[in-house]
Symmetry: C2
Subunit: 438 residues, 2 copies
Amino acid sequence: MTRISALDVIDVRFPTSRWLDGSDAMNPEPDYSAAYAVLRLDDCDVTGRSLLFTTGRGNEVACAALRALAPYLIGRDAASAVADIGAIARELTWDGQLRWLGPEKGIMHMAIGTVVNALWDLRCRFDDVPLWRLLSSMEPEELVRQIDFAYIDDVLTPDDALAILEAQAGGRATRVAALEADGLRAYTTSAGWLGYDDEKVARLARAAVDDGFTMIKLKVGSDVASDVRRLKVARDAVGPHVRIALDANQRWGVREAIEWMGQLVPFDPYWIEEPTSPDDVLGHATIRAAIRPVNVATGEHVQNRVIFKQLLQAEAIDVVQIDACRVGGVNENLAILLLAAKFGIPVCPHAGGVGLCEMVQHLAMFDFVAVSGTTADRWVEYVDHLHEHFVDPVVVTDGRYRAPVRAGAGAAMLDASIEQYRFPEGPAWRNVGTDRER
Amino acid sequence: MTRISALDVIDVRFPTSRWLDGSDAMNPEPDYSAAYAVLRLDDCDVTGRSLLFTTGRGNEVACAALRALAPYLIGRDAASAVADIGAIARELTWDGQLRWLGPEKGIMHMAIGTVVNALWDLRCRFDDVPLWRLLSSMEPEELVRQIDFAYIDDVLTPDDALAILEAQAGGRATRVAALEADGLRAYTTSAGWLGYDDEKVARLARAAVDDGFTMIKLKVGSDVASDVRRLKVARDAVGPHVRIALDANQRWGVREAIEWMGQLVPFDPYWIEEPTSPDDVLGHATIRAAIRPVNVATGEHVQNRVIFKQLLQAEAIDVVQIDACRVGGVNENLAILLLAAKFGIPVCPHAGGVGLCEMVQHLAMFDFVAVSGTTADRWVEYVDHLHEHFVDPVVVTDGRYRAPVRAGAGAAMLDASIEQYRFPEGPAWRNVGTDRER
């Protein structure tokens, strides 16, 4: 019997704030960071790896949350653990003491999601298969068993979920072949960071179209006149047929969102993302009703399936943006994919940061193969940053994510990168310290 | 100039799980704990103290979150800091990097609330006044400046808040006098923990009535037959005129809550508290519509003002239960009190745990004096546990909280208790270790 012997936790931070990559109205200078988790086994070298993405300060708190979960995992039989990850996800989520710290939200929930994702990575390595293919090969009944239906069964019952999955089961093989041939459509945010000047926005927007992207995204919300100008620059650069999504990163109140968007509608934005607090279900519904036909999208900060359920119930959003690291891991994201399918709302995953593209592509591909069964109105976010630090970096060509072929769930980082960017002792941070002292 | 020189953080835990005090359907064996924070000054012995309540495991993560905030506070001029706590609350809440960890929810938000509360404690000590009296003496304009109206100004504007406060300003002196004479009505949860047998429930319920309480609360949600039996025991013990509130601690889904409550309604419960997830605004609205005239209450796990706003907008609750430690401190609780007043919904604070009674009584008293102006339909929760560890323990006599007279915001603990219950090195925990080994 092989047992889980350790949960190593490493604070890894990239000094991205030096270049204003990733700058938006809410995050003027992020240092993309990862609370990196490695599940180790007592008698073999296989590891289960995942990460909790943060934007810098506080990454050590995420590390503390991960360490708090080690006693729940160490000593377990590894084969049993990966055979029923849903049971472990429920055990951690409903722990009578840890639960006070959320419940099911914030750092503790993200940490639970991270160890759940590390267990999926471990299972993928045992089975020598990428996560999207593992999930796409699981029977509908086994997938349903992964899901905690607490607080969503008024809208999605296990029988509902089973029916959705069974309806798509027959077409899985065809869609797997399509995925292997064509991948999934991506959109790029690399052109539109707030910190970039107009010339850079125009140049990068044109480059994105040349690279095959059919949608780009601009950050907005800092200054309305600037947003109008930048959106016009981008629209002129890409022409009328490329979609331009906007992202306000929660910058507005409900009234402000409606007024601000009124000035941007003439440039035909495809969606407005995070127009207000991710917690404000009713606010999103009000905004959506006021700015139709512009779509409303949110999700990267939506804390759990319960808020997604309500966003769908209230007809508050047109696009569900799952995130690989925000909720309780693969298992809760399965629930969210099925909720979206129940309501017929497309899922366009959030990515970027560090490792989010590598991780979330698997969920998007599984969604296509086994849940939604379609690529209509669907794109996966792509940001061309920091992929060089991953063992199996995303492959995006001609504006499309290509299906991963290597085993794992995507988050495994290169040892050399971890050593270079460990915080605060890695060489990358020692140099920053020296620069600041000069 | 006096500067903030340190933020000491101490992990303090009480082994309450040994007695099943505090047991409910979601927390079968809590160890009431505090991530305890002490703001120290460079040239005087005055300190600002507060605590982040948890139920045991993970308290070290709360401590890590508090430590992450130290760099934002150390070096500030103390007088300037306490003169504009609202500015510091906003700065911490909107920090571009920390915000990813919530936003405004979970451990990071609770930690921000804790340092905000410690600053209020410090201001109280500078002014030699208890918090309720400090707040009750502040001009309406100054109180409004404490509040972050982001994401609530579609429902409550600064002008709305000012109007509510000004309408009650003239009666403040009369109500302060009433408070000093009569205190505020309490209800007790001490009789109704799930771990207690029927005889103990009956005995404690009768004792509560003898002690002057006009309302008691029972925990429910573990087993419906047991709940029916315990509620009957309690109703027989207290007679028809004492109110009995019920608390399900989020145990149910929406449909389950409605079905379960159907069996308890014959015993005339006054409210059902936390019938489902605190995140499920629409679920609470559905439950409330189905079980009228039983009131629906929630709040101890409601993460921030945005969820409270929606609970009120959706007519989902009859009772707002603020908690001293869940949200972003005194400042966000001011916003929640004003939202409740705007909608005409009574505030009945959550308390218990360790220190929550000592802290939240100040907010309830301020609400009476300066916001709602009434005691109608209002009770403050009281649990008779662990008060002996506080410098200024609550005084509850004849079923009423008596107005604190000593300076501070309530959370200061005795040095001897901190030393005894420090985790894991305090003597109380060393003994537990020995007991378990026997």
